[in-house]
Symmetry: C2
Subunit: 251 residues, 2 copies
């Protein structure tokens, strides 16, 4: 029996304009499409295609299902929003390979990157990631608050721009409040903060504020938070939202 | 006179498969294409199109030229490899807007993200950026070694995966040596290190090594360096290169 192939695909942050040519080609080829339901819904139906939509937080089960199907000769696509390599399915797939059936190591697994939410948000705003930056998830499913707090402190002490994924969820409203309390103790209150909500989707909304004035009630699951560095600046415009960019010069 | 438009475009790391649909559409529309020569060379010629290729390190001049042309009604594309928002032209364009002709603030400037080198390298390797990570440039054109050293130390103390852009150049061979000396003093010698050379191009080469054993003579301008975190792991395979991924679990 011939082995199949597993594509681990990034759909980008919503709008189809963010799709890469390679991702579009792999989606056309895939027989089985597996992922968190809202992402699977973005892949068109077609005859003979099986779509398997799952709940959030079952990444390893989803990865195993995909690997098992590929090992039976199917062409399988595991789909993530954004980039599969950034807080998405790629790490879960390789964790499943590492811990699972040794035969899975011989599978043809092809990861195809996508535009991540921070890149789309940065592009809409200007160039807030234009200097050294850190990317971290506030989800405490798989790490402790101690680890998160240490990383936030290190990012602040390094004067990195900080892109924060998964800042809050219904079951975890407190983490972003604790994170901002920590950052407010380390950084100037005038530090630029952005809440980029539902980037790339019709309901997209960008809120440009400051560390001192940021209203954390505006942060939800769909929000990417960017905390600026000392070199992050605003350009005010007569019409339209201000531009946010980080100077390439650092002190 | 009608105002033009300025696209700030990411071509991805080489292969045309990384192009997004939005970038392809903007390139088709652009009358003037401006950028560092190797990137401009990747954009097809067409009748009526002006291509302006410049040397490296003249980002602000290039940005001003593009803004000036757009303000005269042209549809201009400033092209970068990778993502324009990650150590590329977007920050330079907005720096030029901030410091330049106030009329430039009214221009229609559209940044279109691309796949950055770290994403393409990560996808080829597995999922090394699968946990919290830092992204930093070792170029000392616009920041001091003190700033670079502090950021490396903070990234190491935070147990971030570290993606290092511009690790070395002909005129600056020492920085990567100093950076590794610093990291070797802070991190376990078995920490996984990857040199991803010319990612997305025919001459692509991936070297998986460790912090203790890494041969820095292999690092050049075309190399992206990834330094793993404690949770970064190897999966050995009977055939093919090992897979590198970072566990989503952190201590």
């Amino acid at each position: 029996m011939s082995l199949g192939r597993l594509y681990v695909i990034g759909l980008g942050p919503g709008d189809a304009g963010y799709l890469t040519h390679d991702v579009a080609a792999a989606l056309a080829e895939a027989q089985d499409v597996i992922g968190y339901a809202p992402y699977v819904a973005r892949v068109p139906d077609r005859e003979g295609r099986t779509k398997i939509a799952s709940e959030n937080r079952v990444e390893l089960d989803r990865a195993r299902e995909a690997l098992s199907r590929a090992s039976k000769g199917r062409v399988v696509a595991v789909v993530s929003g954004g980039d599969p390599g950034v807080f998405a399915m790629a790490a879960a797939v390789f964790e499943a390979v590492d811990e699972g059936d040794p035969a899975w190591r011989a599978l043809d697994i092809v990861v195809l990157p996508g535009i991540s939410a921070m890149q789309a948000a940065a592009a809409r705003l200007g160039a807030p990631l234009g200097q050294d930056f850190c990317v971290l998830s506030l989800s405490d499913n798989l790490k402790s608050w101690g680890t998160i707090a240490n990383r936030l402190e290190c990012a602040a002490r390094g004067d990195f721009v900080i892109a924060i994924y998964n800042p809050a969820s219904r079951s975890r409203p407190q983490t972003i409040i604790d994170a901002f309390a920590l950052l407010r103790g380390l950084l100037n209150g005038e530090t630029i903060v952005v809440f980029a909500k539902s980037v790339g989707r019709p309901e997209e909304r960008l809120i440009v504020t400051s560390l001192a004035e940021a209203d954390l009630a505006q942060v939800d699951m769909s929000t990417l938070v960017i905390v600026g560095a000392q070199g992050t600046k605003l350009i005010q415009r007569e019409t339209g939202a201000p531009i946010v960019y980080s100077s390439r010069k650092s002190r």
